[in-house]
């Protein structure tokens, strides 16, 4: 995670960086390493777009507590159009694998990232990269083809960089795929919601279309400490 954060900080040094989803908290790690001067480079602005309100609030709370003014988050579902008034310079995304739809779900996240840069920036896509399995090869080909259709080219690829220790894929590796816009690149079409059932049918895996617009955080008075349901107190006999 630290290695990945350092690479992101170096790549996006001095730039406005949009995270299209961030379940791994790389955004927070990048911002914190810079804020604490562990790194003397990093993005000038980081904005996390995520459909999980717990993630959004955690990022905002962390930024507030650690006094990191250039770290922010917005509640956003990738199915919705992406039209930031001020373009980002680059985007980062670690999307669903796309194993069951030849990368169609990866391309949804990439498309939103491209739109976040108004089609003129750069992107870093974390994507499966495994020699033994067929599907990562199809996904890599699909995403590179999609990026080319959008006027982006593959400017760099760091192969088999990450391992996840996932229960259901303990050996799976992923790479950083870097995309860069061609000079003068323009939008192919205005940003619009994703509604095509064919594109969404296997979005999160086989027969798993998106069903949730937002994961809403339940309000708790004891935020940040063990939940009261998890324990009970057994008093000393001397305490009445």
């Amino acid at each position: 995670m630290v290695l990945q954060s350092e690479m992101v900080a170096d790549w996006a040094d001095g730039k406005r960086l949009a995270f299209i989803g961030d379940g791994d908290a790389i955004s927070v790690s990048v911002a914190y390493l810079r804020a604490r001067n562990v790194l003397n480079y990093g993005p000038s602005q980081i904005t996390v777009f995520d459909f999980d309100e717990r993630t959004v609030e955690a990022v905002k709370n962390f930024a507030d507590r650690e006094r990191i003014p250039n770290l922010d988050a917005q509640l956003y579902n990738v199915l919705d159009a992406m039209n930031p008034p001020v373009p980002f310079d680059c985007f980062y995304t670690n999307p669903p694998w796309g194993a069951s739809n030849n990368g169609a779900s990866v391309n949804c996240f990439v498309e939103r990232g491209i739109e976040a840069t108004h089609h003129l920036g750069e992107g870093m896509v974390v994507i499966a990269d495994d020699d033994e399995l067929p599907w990562p090869k199809y996904v890599l080909a699909s995403v590179q083809g999609f990026a080319a259709e959008q006027g982006f080219y593959v400017s760099r690829m760091q192969r088999k960089l990450h391992e996840y220790h996932l229960d259901d894929a303990p050996d799976l590796k992923s790479c950083n795929l870097y995309l860069t816009a061609l000079p003068g690149n323009k939008a192919r079409a205005p940003s619009a919601p994703f509604t095509d059932p064919g594109r969404l049918e296997n979005f999160y895996g086989l027969s798993q279309p998106p069903k949730v617009r937002y994961v809403r955080a339940r309000r708790r008075l004891d935020y940040g400490v063990a939940h009261e349901d998890e324990y009970e107190l057994e008093y000393l006999e001397s305490v009445s």
Partner: protein, 191 residues
């Protein structure tokens, strides 16, 4: 080759043993009684390799029209200390229903819906299987079921993959149950 290991069919594989401080023999006897009394049983488990909505249910949807999907279980020595008896079950972790009184699922996040639980011993040739759902899609069963991976949604292939770098790997199955819709569910609460 038996009625379960048929090319093109799907099987659910799971290693089983002591669970929630209860011996395997006691669990089997209790589950047989549940099936007798309630018409079906709930076989509790945990871990993401057989996650109900992202793995087992899509897997079952893909294979249900090819015949019954069997849960094939390999008995093993194990320790498991989780406690608690689930009160409710759900297909999607959104809508919850009460677990029938005749069924008791202990120390588990998920459960397979089973019937016809019985002892049956045969070889499951892992080199003749492959993973059908999830990020390990397409991986050979023998390269998947190892280490912490003790459950799998597998498709039976026409023939085993022959490789020079590994010996054929068969697993001895000790117990079998037929699964039925909704195949796997989420559990919560405390009875």
């Amino acid at each position: 080759m038996n009625k379960i290991i048929k090319p093109g069919s799907g099987v659910l594989f799971m290693k089983i043993g002591t669970h929630a401080n209860e011996t395997l023999a006691d669990i089997i006897a209790r589950k047989e009684a549940e099936i007798r009394d309630a018409g079906f049983g709930m076989w509790g488990y945990g871990g993401n390799t057989c996650h109900p909505s992202s793995m087992v249910q899509p897997f079952a949807k893909a294979f249900a029209d090819r015949g019954p999907i069997y849960l094939c279980m390999e008995a093993m020595e194990s320790n498991h200390f989780a406690e608690g008896v689930a009160a409710e079950y759900s297909l999607d972790s959104q809508e919850w229903m009460k677990i029938p009184d005749a069924i008791e699922v202990r120390g588990s996040k998920y459960a397979m819906i089973i019937e016809d639980l019985h002892e049956e011993r045969f070889k499951l040739p892992l080199d003749q299987t492959r993973v059908l759902v999830g990020p390990s899609l397409g991986r050979l069963g023998s390269r998947y079921v190892k280490g912490r991976v003790d459950k799998a949604c597998l498709e039976i292939l026409e023939a085993p993959e022959l490789a020079n770098d590994a010996k054929p790997r068969d697993i001895t199955i000790d117990f079998v149950a037929r699964t039925r819709a909704p195949y796997a569910v989420f559990l919560r609460g405390q009875r």
